[in-house]
């Protein structure tokens, strides 16, 4: 049942460098709204706005590719309005790239009571209880209207920790069938890139099978899905490692829902290129700052008289010193946290910058072929040089790609 016709693509993938030790790669991905450098973290602007930042502020963090959620945009402002406005770029005044998910993940994460059948996902509207059905065709039609640069297939998402192998197999096989329906429903293959999503839970054989089926469909990019749902990190790493081993080298690989810094660097070492997560922006709203020495909970009383920058040496608008600096201090963020929206905006700017800057330095180290050394530095900074604190899963996963953090 492999796919027939070759699929057009609206992207250009240029592999720039490969780490000589790990499976990490650096590449330039050119999308309809400009090039982005891989590996890459993509912040999530769920409802066409990155949590209080203007598009210009988001641009200033270095972001050139952000996410919108199809499910949310489908409910608000709705397909009709999107069509009238002329798509999501125009709606939010964003000149750069947008990736949209299929809406399927929200069915599972937001609506515990969704029912998945061969036609699609049945659920009740969270707003007024209206019965609804999301099919692969709907999802693609919506994403076509949204006009995002990368669109995702509707997949049958199941928590990876589900013990039901039969259901897991059904979900994997259905995701492949739905991919075929998405491909034939996709109206703009020359301006929007459809990515498939590898499913199969934590069962490596099932993942392999799914990789083979989906790679045969030749989509412009490939996502590894169903992860970051509470599975053990070691299991997560095994799945990513297995999948990247089977994926074509000259296509972007996107692991969905990953955002903790240590997860990002390990996943890059395992051969993944693109990541997204709401954590950096969500945690900002709780007053948490991401730094290379770990997360600072700035609501803690110990920061109320701390007049240093959020992170020493950070180049973001809040922390940078000298010209153009805002001079935001930890004490000020503490003063505002969870009380004024400005506090959330400032930390969101910092956290997004941190994530993007982290990936930039990962990328530089790959190009200069010193990524293994980078990894050692990274974990040493994060745990204050105490190797006993290094997470086992990361040590283990990096060993499989030739880096031993303990040495």
């Amino acid at each position: 049942m492999a796919a027939a016709k070759p699929m057009p693509s609206a992207l250009d993938f240029e592999l720039e460098a490969r780490c000589s030790t790990t499976k990490a790669r650096a590449a330039i991905l050119t999308l309809p709204h400009g090039p982005v450098q891989l590996p890459l973290f993509m912040p999530v602007a769920t409802q066409a706005s990155l949590k209080g930042l203007t598009p210009e502020q988001l641009e200033a963090t270095g972001c050139r590719l952000c996410l919108n959620n199809t499910y949310h945009l489908g409910l608000k402002p709705g397909q009709e309005a999107l069509e009238a406005v002329g798509g999501a770029h125009k709606l939010q005044g964003w000149k750069h790239n947008i990736l949209t998910d299929s809406g399927g993940f929200q069915m599972v994460s937001l609506l515990k009571l969704a029912n998945i059948t061969e036609e699609g996902v049945r659920f009740l509207s969270p707003h007024d209880g209206t019965p609804m059905l999301l099919t692969p065709e709907h999802s693609i039609a919506l994403q076509n209207t949204i006009g995002s640069d990368i669109i995702m297939q509707l997949d049958d998402v199941l928590v990876t920790t589900s013990p039901d192998t039969k259901r897991m197999r059904e979900a994997m096989e259905r995701s492949v069938r739905w991919l075929d329906r998405c491909i034939s429903a996709h109206k703009n293959p020359t301006t929007q890139n459809l990515f498939c999503i590898i499913q199969g839970g934590l069962d490596l054989e099932m993942r392999e099978e799914c990789c083979r089926e989906m790679v045969a469909r030749d989509t412009p990019g490939i996502a590894i899905g169903g992860l970051s749902g509470g599975e053990a990190k070691a299991d997560y790493c095994r799945v990513v490692n297995t999948c990247t081993g089977l994926l074509p080298e000259l296509k972007p690989r996107y692991v969905m829902g990953i955002g903790y810094p240590e997860d990002l660097v390990v996943s890059v070492a395992l051969g993944a290129d693109m990541f997204d997560c709401v954590w950096p922006t969500r945690t900002a709203r709780f007053g948490d700052a991401i730094t290379k020495h770990g997360v600072l909970k700035l609501r803690n009383a110990s920061y109320r008289n701390d007049f240093g920058p959020v992170e020493e040496g950070c180049g973001c608008l809040c922390c940078r010193q000298g010209k153009g600096s805002l001079g935001v201090t930890r004490a000020f963020v503490h003063h505002l946290a969870a009380k004024e929206t400005v506090g959330a905006h400032l930390l969101t700017i910092h956290n997004v910058w941190y994530q993007l800057a982290l990936m930039k330095s990962v990328r530089e180290s790959i190009i200069e072929d010193r990524f293994p050394a980078f990894l050692k530095h990274f974990f040493s900074d994060l745990h204050g040089g105490d190797k006993a604190k290094y997470p086992d899963w990361a040590v283990e996963a990096l060993r499989t790609v030739g880096v031993d953090l303990m040495l």
Binding site: K76, P77, N115, L134, A344
Partner: protein, 467 residues
Amino acid sequence: MATALENLEEPRGLFFDIFGSFDPSSVTPRLGRLRVKGRQELETPNFFAISSRGVVPHLTPDVISASTTIGGVHMALEDFIERATIGTPPIMNCPGSSPLHTFTALPRSLITVLAPRRTPAVSAPKGNSNTAISVFTSTGFQVLSNKSYISYIAKLHPDIAIPLADVPHGSNPGTKRVPKMGDRTQEWVTELLNSKNDEQAVFAPILPIDSLSQYEYLNQLADELTDGISGLAFYDSNLLPDMPATTSLSRLPRLSLDEPSSPRQILRQVSLGMDIFTIPFIGFATEAGIALTFRFPRPVLDEPAVLDGVVGSVLPLGINMSSKSHTASLKPLSTACTCYTCTTHHRAFVQHLLSADEMLSWTLLQIHNSHVVSEFFTSIRECVRRGTFEADCDEFARAYESELPEKSGQGPRVRGYHFKSEGPGESKKNKAAWGNLGNFEHGISGLVPDEPAGTLEDKGFAKKADT
């Protein structure tokens, strides 16, 4: 053209020049220029933005610099001292020569005004005493003595300090209270002036009671205290014509803390000679989802409402951006507006953000609304300069409604320091973000639809069925 008064060699860091002919006894609109050392000049009449916890709500400092022309910020000490009962408030430990700017990351070009209380202030359950007032911090009511307020000013040295005043926010003072208000305020102002350093600019508070009841205090201001003060802060603008008509008092800049509820009230105060305003309705409009659209003295000619309207129809002062009618509108919030929001975004986006409860909605509206008010004052200054102000006010009154549209947006979560609880049985100020799953109003049988796929297909995705 400028006949600046002979106050240039004053030792303070704050100067106010009044342009045009100057007659201390006349009640007229006036043009001026406020100059504060190290800050941007402010042409008056103009306004200061109101801050909450030291920030102009929804605007990060970079947005203030890039997208607004705000010249100064009103800050309330009560927003910074919740820890005063158990230790030193952090702002008192802040390094630098201007702790208010440093602590709040406020652009250095903006003028800071420090007042004891927010504007508008939440009324306190406990009255003021002879030596202290009640303030409301984010953790509850506190007593702020004049002595400690003076030490806060000494450390924070705001560009302009407003002394403690005995103002009964929210309640009408009784006959016994009124004479006390003048006496206490006079004493507190005198104490501050006697102990402050020469550099510190102080705007003396004018109380919201009739001038006879504070006669002694006002005379004291015009007489012995006049050298120590750099301006006046009015809790009631109606007092303006009743001020002692001395040159030394009349040439001082006048700040309104009168909480005007509409542009018309601002115009009235301008006509009485008010110079600088604090305007709560900018923030109210923003958080209610209203884009201000008024222009002084008249709307632009191609304003759709003007074109469509019947001759003689009155225009609203603002547009409710939450309205579904904007869902697909690519128009700017206000015709020919040059603000960031109107030149970069459109009504459809703001409507979407409001309906999705996204914080950016308030940012975009706050930028726009601040711009509209800035332009309003620019036009007022032009009209005063041209000498057409009075006629222009009449035209404005004919063109626009007198009050802002009704609030409809939910706005951001309300915090304790925004309002005073009215006691038991009060309804919740914030709507619960989440409810029980399946608990819909119409009452539905199951939690997952069981209709055949074809039926659901017909309804389409994410479209509300007609009920």
